[in-house]
Symmetry: C2
Subunit: 680 residues, 2 copies
């Protein structure tokens, strides 16, 4: 208590402290010293502090600072008064910082001390069926009708008997769905070859070590613990829709494959996609950036290149090749990776490798369109291109990659005047390919099982995200592996039946208005093309009889369908679909008894929920100590402030507080000590 009183007294006595007073040695030592930047760094950055401070906590000190620079002897009283106050509060702040950190760290360690558990487990109730599953299904494989964890203590008994919801995949779609379901709604099982979910938008950062890959992943087991769900670490390979069995392939430690059936009542396919090759030869020499493993191998390769480039045995030509980084694709992933590589060179390589290694670096972005970030507004493209130009990042636009070799990339450009095609070569030891998507084997298998699935790259689902052709309400699909049907004309007969009130086989304007409402409900993506109801009616009423016959209608609906663009394969779409589906599944579970009583089981989805409607919330990209945003119709771009905004958005999108904490720590660690240059 004495100590406290002393401190309080000294705080109020602290009249003539220098404003820049740092905590005394003992104060500093009692804190967690690691988070305080070294004194020398603080000092060297002191002058810009006046500009950089946005905190509301220092208004007086700032006023004091500007006052002091223009002070006259007459001001000296006010000067002293302000000074003493500023000193008092800055001393108080320093002390608070130290004390606060100590208290928090102390508190966490005390909590930590109670996490060492001594629980003993003597007996675990397990159903005999879980230990010795019966065989069945078309291939006579073991059917996992009861799982070993089903009767664990802590799992509510009721969960075991709930409808079995099986979610295949562990990406954005699956996790968003899992987060929207309520505990006790279903007996939840997740099937995934990875045991974790990845925050994919920050993979370019992880690829150069700005953040650690561990900060981007969250264990699926931790996510499903809330739902008392279970994880099966395996790969879905086949589906028996008539028996509601999912076939899963698991791999033993010795590499043997064991297949088994997992029964489901509702199945959600969220397996994502694989990269498409676009038929360019040599893509096996390229890196991709879809998974944590990709980010790890990119990081290893980049550091390898710099290490080998700094060896005395490396020739000049070879050094330039090793330090040439080629990114094929000017979309957000490509642009962000190029920007992160530039950052790595500017902030770390330059400090710890021979300067020659920094000088010989060249970064190339090869883009097939005229501009990079071509899905963004023109202003944003321009801003990014200007930034790259200042940074000496070479932009090759309107170019096509022809071949990738182990040691060089060949691309072609067409002369805008003559139309002549020229071939160019970049020697390189690093090529990133950020391409379109293709079906993974399970998606392809599901698609092949259903005769009405004709899409080449994805499973077609209806507006309720039900797989088209599968038993209604049994199988859903979300995310990159799906595309929502855009064909309106395929619903023609159904629509006419619903709208043709007078049953004359033709649609008059009143009936057309009803039909438009039905179309908007069935296929919300068509809504924006159905705004001018009257004009459309008149336009397609070719015989001007004020009625649309079936032929005229078919043409109309066909053309509207053609105008709809499919949703992009982005995290945002998958996440919204997952959330939508999870919410719907929850409603279905909550209203199950009512629905059964009213015999609505055939069209339950329509009964509880509107069709899925995508709301584009905006796009953003990091372009190297600057960032660009497109939020609705607003574009926003800028330097460090935008970068922090970009970080904030990604930070808030994290799946758990754990990854949030880890990310913030990663950013702080990079700021204080730079990136980790160890090649693990």
């Amino acid at each position: 208590m004495e100590m406290w009183n002393d401190i309080m007294r000294s705080l109020s006595r602290a009249k003539y402290y220098r404003l820049s007073r740092l905590p005394t040695r003992s104060e500093r030592d009692s804190s967690m010293p690691t988070l305080i930047p070294p004194r020398s760094i603080l000092r060297s950055h002191c002058p810009p502090l006046r500009v950089g401070v946005h905190s509301r906590q220092f208004p007086h000190s700032l006023r004091f600072l500007s006052a002091s620079s223009t002070s006259t002897p007459n001001d000296s009283n006010r000067f002293l008064r302000y000074g003493s106050k500023a000193a008092k509060y800055s001393a108080f702040t320093c002390f608070s910082a130290v004390l606060g950190l100590s208290v928090v760290v102390g508190g966490v360690f005390i909590h930590d001390a109670f996490t060492y558990s001594n629980r003993h487990i003597d007996r675990v109730p397990v159903s005999p069926l879980a230990l010795h599953p019966e065989c069945g299904g078309p291939k006579n494989l073991p059917v996992a009708s009861v799982l070993v964890g089903d009767e664990d203590d802590g799992v509510p008994v009721a969960v075991k008997d709930k409808p079995r919801l099986v979610i295949v995949g562990g990406g954005w779609g699956a996790v968003s769905a899992l987060q929207a379901i309520h505990p006790g709604d279903y007996h939840v099982t997740v099937v995934s070859p990875d045991t974790f979910t990845t925050f994919t938008p920050l993979l370019p950062s992880a690829a150069v070590g700005t953040v650690s890959v561990r900060s981007l992943v969250e264990s699926l087991r931790k996510i499903i613990a809330r739902l008392h769900g279970q994880l099966i670490n395996g790969r879905a390979v086949d589906l028996v829709m008539t028996d509601r069995l999912l076939e899963i392939e698991t791999v033993s430690t010795s590499g043997e494959r064991h297949n088994l059936y997992l029964p489901y009542d509702k199945l959600v396919i969220a397996v994502g996609s694989v990269s498409s090759t676009h038929g360019v030869p040599g893509l096996e020499h390229c890196f991709q950036l879809k998974t944590v493993a990709d980010a790890q191998s990119i990081r290893r390769r980049i550091l390898d290149n710099f290490e080998i480039a700094s060896l005395p045995s490396t020739s000049e030509e070879e050094r330039k090749r090793l330090l040439s980084f080629v990114v094929c694709g000017g979309g957000p992933t490509g642009v962000e990776t190029a920007a992160e590589i530039y950052d790595l060179c500017q902030e770390d390589i330059i400090n710890y490798f021979p300067k020659l290694c920094r000088k010989d670096v060249s970064i190339h972005v090869v883009q097939s369109r005229e501009h990079i970030l071509n899905t963004y507004s023109e202003a944003i493209s321009k801003f990014a291109e200007d930034k790259f130009q200042r940074d000496d990042v070479e932009l090759v636009t309107s170019a096509r990659v022809r071949e990738v070799h182990p040691d060089h990339v060949v691309y072609t450009t067409r002369d805008p005047q003559t139309g002549e095609i020229a071939e160019h070569t970049i020697p390189t030891n690093f090529v990133l390919w950020s391409t379109g998507i293709a079906m993974n084997p399970f998606t392809a298998r599901v698609s092949s099982l259903l005769p009405n699935q004709v899409h080449k790259k994805a499973i077609e689902v209806d507006a309720h995200l039900r797989v088209k052709g599968a038993p209604l309400g049994d199988v859903y699909a979300i995310g990159d592996c799906t595309t929502i049907e855009t064909s309106v004309v395929s619903h023609l007969l159904e629509l006419v039946e619903e709208a043709d009130r007078n049953q004359d086989g033709k649609i008059d304007f009143d009936e057309w208005e009803i039909m438009v409402k039905r179309i908007k409900k069935k296929i919300p993506m068509a809504a924006s093309h159905l705004k001018k109801v009257r004009a459309l009616f008149d336009l397609y009423d070719s015989d001007a009889d004020n009625k649309l016959n079936l032929n005229e209608l078919a043409v109309l609906l066909q053309e509207i369908g053609n105008k709809i663009t499919a949703l992009p394969a982005t995290a945002q779409v998958a996440s919204q679909q997952g959330k939508y589906l999870g919410h719907k599944l929850h409603l279905l579970a909550a209203k199950r008894d009512t629905l059964l009583a009213n015999d609505l089981s055939a069209s339950t989805d329509e009964a509880v929920s509107e069709p899925f409607n995508y709301r584009h919330l905006g796009s953003l990209a990091y372009i190297g100590n600057a960032a660009v945003f497109e939020l609705g119709k607003l574009s926003f771009m800028g330097g460090l402030a935008a970068m922090y905004a970009w970080r904030s958005i990604y930070w808030s999108e994290q799946v758990s507080m754990r990854t949030r904490a880890l990310l913030m720590i990663d950013w702080i660690v990079r700021g204080v000590w730079g990136r980790d240059l160890s090649r693990l």
Copy 2:
């Protein structure tokens, strides 16, 4: 300012606050919420707080707590007074914590904002010899006499012309030496196949994810930046001592090997060791725990085992095999790994995997001696054994591992009465082998070059850590790859020459006293066996002529030499040797001109420094929410408090503030969110 005054006023008004008052919502929200444990956790652990708090900041609150439990109505005034004070200061503390964190995080981010550099590099001065090295040496390889980074701006010109110090290796010895050298002493080059140094004592923690491997490594480039040193990422393969050339093998990205010569003036060999196989067949099925890569593969295997064990297709027998973890070796590494695996099961597996997976876990420690931790005191062994018994960790002592198979381990025990040997089998999918050491190929090559090197497992060095047989003062060796000579008799003639004052070929007692001093100086490890000077003299003076003749002396010195035990291959020895050598190298550099002027170049080591003298500072080991210490003659063992002491010691031993911060964060993250169960 108004805000501040309000807060100060409210702090002094806070008379009747509950002691356990938590920060208000707005206070909490303005802090970094991620580091504060959830409210529910805090609450559930509140009662034990009274026991667990060691901080000096709460003495009054504690006194208040104990007062309250015995209070009478008469105490009510004091109660209130204490209460108001406690409330005031706890409110103040909470507020400080929030404010402090905000200020620190804000400060770090402001600093961070200024780390985005825009430096452009136009021209880098590089010697033509660095770009096109001349060939030379016995194998006519490129000789890297100038490195590409030698003429960088920022590198003092003088460094380039300093004696060339080449350090081979990047472990404890190398890094300790690097930290003891002063900038400008030498032109420093480090040759290492890894680009980082590893904090090896925490590898068992990293193997189960208690800490992250990234927190145990520090980039060698960052360590040598202080010395303006350079790193060559390659493997030393040969040595030409006459030309002072080190042959290095580097590997290009395509896997080709390029060899080159690196000239040196002083060479330090600190390459460590490889594991010895002890001739047990099947060791290729075992894990070892010497490197970060080992820790990573162990972690992957452990999580694999649990994932596969929880699959519905896994049989009961196979599940038990997958969850059986065998550790061969009851030394600190083995014991700590067993303890960490137990922790993982108790704190994380139990929460997120089916309970059956926790129940079926068995951990086995197979030790050849009668007790685990047999180099520690008996009390410590006993404490650790009792702890393991409580934890159901099976200890198999006095047992020898006969064979390791992919799916089981075979060991034998001898019946103490009958002497009969029995064979036992443990089915398992995880075997850790923590064995003795053997030479790595470079050590073996150096040893083979020098005819007087006869040791089988290491390079023999003299007490000044100079490689025996190499040109004096050119080649040093430290750490696991070395052993300090213990033979005293080999110095017999030299010692007699120095001590035999009357030149009669015999040593009387006065001369013996001189000789003892000389021996202690030459071979400090013999000192403890030379304490009873008179008794030794009398004992070995077999003809009782009060003089020792050469034969008698030879027997005496031989037996003293036999009593000396070699230093263990531990981080502590390597680190002390590195520090000693670095300091000596600094002295040699600082006094170079003086030494040259006095023509002392032949025996410079003796001129500037005493021989190396190892001081054992103690041993410690973690045994699962408890730890044991041996500091000098004191033993100390205990639960959580000891565990925190164990952490503190390792924390203070870290090579950089960065790894210190990362380690502390890892421990906090484990405390709050548990270990990461993602198998990357």
